[in-house]
């Protein structure tokens, strides 16, 4: 098993992100640039899943629900209460974290696929609420007219902004990994009993991972709503939670650079697979299955194996 990125590799991560991040927006335009923007937004939520699943092992199929809380939070506060985006976004993130704290306390006693099912139920419940609390959310018609982030007029400008936010998130993620919190999360996933016996408060560590994931989900949504200027319930259903988890698995479940790579690859997959036409989901499903069977450590794990086939 490849060793995880530690705090020491933060500069390397930053360099790679800068190198890979500076060129594409200069070369791409139009639809491709838009996809790239959406990939960065998704990557923020996927980094949350690195904490929740990659580190702490929570099989979390509700992350899109927290993205939705962030997106709707910003949309409602900016359109109905006329708040500026800059104050609405942090409040929406806190709201996502608060909801995670409330539901995490009972749900995180569950493990494995039981937790997966419970998070699915939670996500679907949020969608039902968003569809039916019409006075607040606009129901199935969604909520439009969300103002953009001040001073960001183009998709390219948004790219620089989102890339800067993502870079900050990655640096915080690397810091988490290099602290007792990151170590405790991984210890809890690797051997819960031994972690508890070593003094790690297992439940609190799981809850922390879940809440941090939700806050990043909320941030992702707070970026999305002003970018799309329009939110509908269907954008945050379980299918999107699955997509976020697939991004994580494709990249490599416990890797910060992997989260970004997975988000970009999966976001561009429909574009690259355009030639298969209506059979897109079949091909995508088979590709995911192949990744699971052939590269269980994701892209990052596969690359690491290529780089050092032997071990010292």
């Amino acid at each position: 098993m490849s060793r995880l990125a530690t705090g020491r590799t933060a500069p390397a991560v930053a360099a790679a992100v800068l190198l890979l991040g500076v060129l594409p927006p200069l070369l791409l335009s139009g639809y491709a640039l838009r996809l790239l923007d959406l990939a960065l937004i998704a990557a923020v939520a996927v980094v949350g899943l690195v904490f929740a699943f990659g580190y702490a092992g929570l099989v979390h199929l509700g992350q899109a629900g927290f993205v939705g809380i962030g997106a709707y939070g910003v949309a409602v506060l900016t359109t109905r209460a006329q708040w500026p985006v800059w104050t609405a976004a942090p409040v929406a993130m806190l709201l996502a974290g608060g909801v995670a704290l409330l539901i995490g306390a009972p749900l995180l006693r569950l493990r494995g696929h039981y937790l997966a099912l419970a998070t699915v139920g939670f996500n679907e419940t949020l969608v039902v609420i968003a569809k039916n609390w019409t006075a607040l959310t606009g129901g199935d018609d969604g909520l439009g007219g969300v103002p953009g982030i001040g001073g960001i007029g183009s998709d390219r400008a948004f790219y620089w902004f989102a890339a800067a936010v993502l870079l900050g998130v990655l640096l915080l993620g690397a810091a988490l990994r290099g602290s007792r919190f990151g170590r405790a999360m991984i210890a809890v996933r690797d051997d819960e009993l031994a972690a508890a016996a070593a003094g790690v408060p297992v439940f609190r560590v799981r809850l922390l991972a879940f809440v941090l994931a939700a806050v990043l989900g909320g941030l992702s949504g707070a970026l999305y709503a002003p970018y799309a200027s329009f939110v509908v319930p269907g954008d945050f259903d379980v299918v999107h939670s699955i997509t976020l988890l697939v991004m994580l698995i494709v990249g490599g479940e416990a890797s910060l650079p992997g989260a970004v790579a997975g988000a970009v690859i999966v976001s561009f997959a429909p574009e690259w697979l355009r030639f298969v036409g209506a059979a897109y989901l079949s091909v995508f499903g088979v590709l995911v299955l192949l990744v699971l069977v052939l590269m269980p450590q994701g892209l990052v794990g596969a690359l690491a194996r290529l780089r050092r086939p032997r071990h010292v």
Binding site: L4, T6, A187, D190, D191, L193, A195, A197, A198, H311
Partner: protein, 263 residues
């Protein structure tokens, strides 16, 4: 209870009943302060259940567990560990995705004070604390002869080193009492001898140890006191010499016939 109490750990009337089965049945146990108590008994005597009860992995049906005067019966595992009673596991349980050094650092979780914000922003307080901890962990690894292994993946360590790494993980929390669950299992003779020296050194440093072990040579050499367990009860307790000559102990291990023959 005061500092002067002779026992660091004092267990009274500990019971664990699974339905009709009495895995541990009214056990009394005292670990002398700064000494080594060995808990021995035939297979199935209840030793593993006892260590699980003491460390909060199992909830006792009845009884009291006092560590330095603090009642710990029924407390969660991490609370017990944070109170100063830390264990190792029979077959070795390490964190496979963490490096050797990080495995040790996890053991210090209870000692760290830096909060989430300080850690994420890598504030000076966090950095200083982390640096001091890494130095401490490095020292421990050096003492156990593993300084050169700090960055390795634990899966690549030889078995003997994995067992020592578990002890390092326990020691970094600066426990009051170390529980060693069959630390010699699977080690070769040289490694057992080295383990024995290590445990004696730790006692010299003032650490109290509860040792569960099948290797009688090691037990007789290290233990200040021995408590013998059978069918979940204490059948004998005393110095190694006294316990060795106790007919009930011989009987428990070898059967009545052998005991009669010896008497």
């Amino acid at each position: 209870m005061s500092e002067a109490s002779p026992a660091i750990l004092s267990v009274r009337g500990l019971c664990c009943h699974f339905g009709g089965l009495r895995a541990v049945d009214g056990l009394d146990l005292d670990v002398p302060r700064g000494g080594i108590l060995a808990l021995i008994g035939p297979n199935g005597a209840g030793k593993s259940t006892t260590i699980n009860l003491l460390t909060g992995a199992l909830r006792p049906s009845a009884g009291s567990i006092r560590l330095d005067g603090v009642e710990l019966a029924g407390k969660a595992a991490h609370v017990v560990a944070r109170a100063g009673m830390v264990r190792t596991f029979q077959n070795g349980r390490l964190f496979a995705r963490l490096s050797v050094l990080e495995n040790v650092l996890v053991g210090a979780d209870s000692r760290l004070r830096a909060g989430l914000a300080a850690s994420l922003l890598r504030l000076p307080g966090f950095r200083a604390e982390e640096a001091a901890l890494v130095a401490h962990a490095g020292g421990l690894l050096g003492r156990l002869g593993m300084a050169q292994d700090a960055a390795r993946e634990v899966g690549t360590l030889p078995y003997g080193s994995q067992r020592r790494l578990e002890i390092a993980r326990a020691l970094i929390s600066r426990p009051k009492l170390l529980l060693l669950d069959e630390p010699a299992a699977g080690l070769n003779a040289a490694e057992v001898a080295e383990l024995g020296r290590l445990i004696l050194q730790l006692r010299q440093d003032g650490l109290s140890v509860l040792l569960i072990e099948h290797n009688m040579g090691l037990v007789m050499r290290l233990a200040d006191h021995i408590t013998v367990l059978n069918f979940g009860r204490r059948i004998a307790s005393g110095t190694p010499q006294a316990v060795r000559d106790d007919p009930r102990v011989v009987e428990a291990y070898l059967g009545r016939r052998a005991a009669d023959a010896r008497v």
